[in-house]
């Protein structure tokens, strides 16, 4: 039968103490929309759930030079933030299309990336916004670029005794327009069949630089570096964008799964990279 202890520490120090005490027998939980579902579906629970929801100081969205987002920030907060909607639009789009209002009210950006599903809706946006992941452990703080954060399906560089405390996005991204498309069968309550995020900076009608991220296209969320290289210095026209889409599709390694076929995912990457590039350009 499912049995676990539940603790809700008031500060990080307590969290580290509990993690040290319980080691692999503990699971961190924030909104619970992944952890509680997993417990229900697998009928297995850790010995102790350590709730991070008491760490109110990790709940923030600020622009202080760079953009700073606390790990406990909920998707609803991201959705309601004018700053995020206007200046980090891909992240707004990713967060606002997760699940439902009920899910978004409690689910957090930290939880989303730590769960590290290949489909995580904030992962693509964070990748194209050059985010850094702030991690803290008993040994101190460190930061990891989001491009190095995901190591495998449901796997990250976070060690068992560490906590992801926030994300930092460089202020340079304010010059980039960004967009995120979640391809799904219905308009809510779906995981993406494939996710495409694009950010770019224009110099007149030329693309100075771009970032393209793909989700559900590989074991982890990935950047499409070849497509980005191709776009650098090119004009914003249909043929260029279409080619970038094709290159990005070739960089992906999607699979057949219950939600979609491999060929369909590739096709959609090729279709939506251009569409999102256009959208991102409008937002510049």
């Amino acid at each position: 039968m499912i049995d676990y202890d539940y603790r809700k520490p008031g500060n990080l120090e307590e969290v580290f103490n509990l993690l040290r005490e319980y080691g692999p027998k503990a699971t961190l939980v924030a909104g619970g929309t992944d952890v509680m579902v997993k417990i229900k579906n697998t009928k297995k629970a850790p010995e102790i759930l350590i709730s991070l929801r008491g760490l109110k100081e990790l709940c923030y969205i600020r622009k202080n030079g760079d953009y700073h987002i606390g790990a406990l920030t909920t998707h609803t907060m991201l959705e309601k933030s004018d700053l995020v909607q206007e200046e980090l639009t891909a992240l707004y789009e990713g967060a606002s299309r997760i699940g439902s209002v009920q899910i978004r009210n409690v689910a957090t950006i930290g939880g989303n990336i730590c769960n590290a599903a290949p489909s995580a809706d904030t992962a693509g946006p964070l990748l194209v916004l050059d985010a850094q992941v702030l991690i803290e452990g008993p040994e101190g703080k460190r930061r990891v670029p989001i491009t190095e954060f995901f190591t495998g399906t449901y796997k990250t560089v976070r060690k068992e005794d560490e906590v992801v405390t926030g994300l930092q996005i460089p202020v340079e991204m304010e010059q980039f327009g960004s967009a995120y498309w979640k391809q799904s069968r219905r308009k809510a309550m779906n995981l993406p069949i494939v996710g495409i995020a694009v950010s770019l900076r224009l110099d007149n009608k030329t693309i100075s630089e771009s970032r393209i991220a793909l989700t559900v296209a590989a074991p982890t969320p990935i950047r499409a570096y070849k497509a980005e290289e191709f776009l650098a210095g090119k004009p914003m026209d249909d043929e260029v964008l279409a080619e970038a889409g094709r290159i990005a599709a070739s960089e992906a390694s999607p699979r057949d799964s219950i939600r979609g076929k491999e060929w369909y995912r590739r096709d959609m990457i090729a279709v939506f990279v251009p569409r999102m590039a256009r959208l991102a350009a409008e937002r510049r």
Partner: protein
């Protein structure tokens, strides 16, 4: 003739206020004293021998009160063809086979106990495709039939064959012929309230089932047969509905989990509740019947249909429930949707190791109409005739008798088709814009009962008390369509009281007379007609009482006045006005003489009449109560699948305008017009609810929903990956209510519960074809299928 006060008006659902306050009691909320919770262990393989079941650990778990396997209960056979036992003993034939069951003091303990049961299997070769299963060398799903006689094939011995006229000749005579193959797959009914029941025996082994069934008396019938096999012959069964969280066809058969609850209750001598969780509801609940149709139609030069020829193959899964009887409904659109003189239809049901199917809203009609209406468009194209025009040429008309011997009385099909055309601006806009298309499809469905059992009767009892309250004991059930409100409108109208005076009981066999079932969209028609008969009787009783009592009441009043005021002079009244019941009427709770409706003395409240009739003080007191059992003059289908099984038929047309994104394959519905011939709308707002809800489910059926079954296993057993539409998936639905009236329906009403769904998917498919020139013949019409078809076209 005064206007109706309530019938035809949008009376609100005030009678169901408990549903908005959280007080309505669903099976989930119902508890009985001492109740235990049952859970089921399902099979691990699609086809395997059971070598051994070890329940010892489960039995020892604290809180467990019973553990049952096939060894512990009699081998009694259940189901439509008696092809399964309640707990599987020697062989499992599908993943959802019930192998063991536990009753415990909490659902968590029961679940834990189930996980402790160890079963040893020996895998057997399995077959997951009905065409494969029909082959000589296919493994047999069933080695013997219900009587133990050896079976040589997986084909079920069911008589689904219909033949009228001469297909060969008609084909020769046809100027144009079209051939198509279409297929539909499993979809889940997605009731928000999952399956569940409580079984409870009394000391004498009489059973009460708190159960969500729509067929409360049919349920008793099946359980009675089961009882006869397990040593409980002669015991009484009572079925009581709680508030039901949706049905959509799931509650028409007696399911295995219900028999299991009965066995657990028998063993423990306690009430036992079994309640499906959502995953179980997707894995273990029989879904809609899938089917593959090879259909061929021909018409003459003028576009008149000469023949329709169709062979269907149905994947029956491992056992048989109502899915295998869907051909008896498929024959309706096959033989009678549009006028077609020569018809051949054959349906073959085949055992496989897949999940088996039951009823779902439409009961075979959506599947068959997808075939017929795809073929109609196909043939219209061959003949060079506009698809809407083609349908008008061949439309059904009042007075027709179809090849199946259905007698078409009221028929609003022409108006439905032309209205859909108008609303879509069919002639002006169709085929004019790239990537956009329009399509339509129609339907015929039973709408005046459906004689699928020997009695198609519906009983009702009406009791009026001395406070002016009316108790109505209904034999039907309520799944949420709004029956309490509609029946209270009809009763209020017929009796002359108000809807808020009516108190109804549904779904309790201890109180109800009998009913064939709340299915086949028959409830309003049947209950309404029964109510009219009962109310006429009750009204006569009231008026007879009034005739007798009004003089006494009035004169008694004068006497009292005289005592108080000796000056009072008794007015000289014409008591002839109230001397005959035919000269009296009731309206808005008041009895009155027709010749002087506002008579100062003779207009008296119904309650006062009844009070005086009951409290007479000297013998001969009376109550007002009446019953009716309405069984219309219809026929069962004979061996040739012919018979006028309903008093009247519903018609309708759905027209859709779509836009297809040729890069992504996505279909966007720009407009969906859903026109329905309902005879007469009893309650316009409730009626719209049926049209919207059914159309929406139809859109899911056409575009997004499918249970993904791989080697017999359900791969998407949850809302996450089963694509039922959300409120964000907007479909602009424009409902059109066509009211030609109906001479047999109560106030002219016909049924509408299922029709809204039936033509939706083919209308979408036809619109997609018009938009992009590729025809998707396999539901659902997904973006992947569209992209694949577009690529192949190139």
């Amino acid at each position: 003739m005064p206007d109706n006060l309530f019938v035809g008006k949008s009376v609100p659902r005030t009678i169901e206020a408990d549903k908005v306050t959280g007080n309505a009691v669903y099976i989930d909320d119902l508890k009985r004293p001492g109740m235990l919770y049952g859970k089921i262990l399902y099979s691990k393989y699609a086809h395997a021998k059971i070598k051994n079941i070890d329940t010892s650990k489960a039995e020892k778990l604290e809180g467990v009160r019973a553990v049952l396997t096939g060894q512990d209960i009699p081998d009694a056979r259940v189901g439509f063809l008696r092809d399964q036992t309640v707990l599987k003993k020697d062989v499992v034939r599908q993943f959802r086979d019930e192998v063991a069951a536990v009753a415990a003091i909490s659902p968590e303990i029961a679940e834990e106990a189930v996980s402790l049961i160890k079963v040893e299997y020996e895998k057997l070769p399995a077959v997951f495709d009905p065409f494969e299963a029909m082959k000589q060398e296919a493994p047999l799903v069933h080695e013997t039939d219900a009587r133990g006689r050896p079976l040589k094939s997986n084909i079920l011995p069911l008589p689904w064959k219909f033949e009228v006229g001469d297909i060969e000749q008609a084909r020769k005579d046809a100027a144009y012929v079209a051939k198509d193959t279409v297929s539909t797959t499993w979809v889940n009914q997605c009731c928000m309230g999952t399956s569940g029941c409580i079984a409870e025996f009394d000391q004498n082994n009489n059973l009460t089932m708190y159960d969500q069934t729509n067929v409360i008396f049919g349920h008793i019938g099946r359980i009675t047969e089961y009882f006869a096999q397990i040593g409980l012959a002669g015991k009484k069964i009572r079925v009581v509905n709680p508030v039901v969280g949706g049905s959509f066809g799931t509650k028409l058969d007696t399911d295995i989990y219900e028999f299991i609850a009965i066995q657990l209750a028998l063993k423990t001598r306690k009430p036992v509740k079994i309640l499906f969780d959502r995953e179980e509801e997707f894995r273990a609940l029989p879904p809609r019947q899938p089917a593959v149709f090879n259909i061929e139609q021909g018409c003459d030069k003028e576009g008149r249909l000469t023949f329709r020829n169709c062979e269907a193959v149905l994947d029956n899964g491992a056992y048989t429930s109502w899915g295998a009887t869907t051909p008896s409904v498929m024959i309706m659109p096959m033989s009678s949707l549009y006028r077609v003189p020569n018809v051949y239809f054959k349906a073959t049901c085949v055992y496989t190791n897949n999940i088996y199917a039951q009823a779902m809203r439409g009961y075979g009609n959506p599947q068959a109409t997808f075939a017929v209406e795809t073929s109609m468009d196909s043939l219209a194209e061959e003949a060079g005739i506009d698809p809407a025009e083609f349908r008008l040429i061949n439309r059904n008309r009042s007075g027709d008798e179809t090849p199946m011997k259905l007698k078409i009385t009221s028929c609003g099909l022409e108006e439905c088709i032309t209205t859909v055309k108008d609303r879509l601006q069919w002639d002006e806009k169709r085929g004019k814009k790239k990537g956009r298309g329009m399509g339509m499809a129609s339907l015929i469905h039973v709408a005046g009962g459906a004689r699928v059992t020997k009695s198609d009767g519906h009983g009702i009892m009406v009791k009026v008390d001395e406070y002016g309250h009316v108790d109505v004991i209904e034999s039907g059930t309520d799944q949420g369509q709004g029956s309490p409100t509609v029946i209270s409108q009809i009763v209020a109208e017929a009796l002359g009281v108000r809807p808020e005076d009516i108190f109804l009981t549904f779904g309790d066999t201890a109180l109800a007379l009998w009913d064939a079932g709340t299915h086949a969209s028959r409830h309003t028609f049947m209950a309404g007609n029964a109510a009219l008969i009962a109310c006429a009787k009750a009204k006569k009783q009231i008026l007879d009482m009034a005739v007798e009592l009004i003089p006494k009441i009035v004169k008694g009043g004068f006497k009292r006045k005289k005592r108080k005021d000796p000056e009072f002079v008794e007015p000289d009244l014409d008591y002839g006005l109230t001397a005959n019941a035919e000269d009296m009427d009731i309206r808005d709770r008041m009895v009155f003489p027709k010749k002087d409706p506002d008579h100062r003395y003779f207009k008296i409240p119904v309650a006062e009449i009844l009070r005086n009739g009951l409290h007479v003080g000297t013998g001969e007191s009376k109550v007002v109560a009446a019953e009716a059992f309405y069984d219309p003059p219809t026929e069962m289908l004979n061996r040739e699948m012919k018979g006028n099984l309903s008093m009247t038929y519903a018609f309708g047309t759905t027209g859709v305008e779509v836009e297809v994104d040729e890069q992504t394959g996505e279909v966007k519905i720009l407009k969906l017009v859903s026109a329905h011939d309902v005879g007469k709308a009893m309650n316009p707002t409730l009626l719209l609810g049926q049209i919207y809800g059914a159309a929406y489910t139809g859109v899911g059926y056409g575009l997004t929903e499918e249970i993904k079954v791989q080697n017999g296993r359900v791969m998407n057993p949850g809302f996450r990956d089963y694509q039922m539409l959300t409120a964000m998936d907007v479909v602009p639905i424009e409902p059109v209510v066509v009211e030609p009236g109906d001479e047999d329906g109560p106030y002219g009403a016909k049924g509408v519960g299922e029709p809204g769904l039936v033509p939706t998917a083919p209308a979408i498919a036809n619109a997609v074809y018009n938009a992009i020139g590729v025809r998707i013949t396999d539901l659902p019409i997904t973006p992947e299928k569209i992209l694949t078809a577009l690529k192949e076209r190139k």
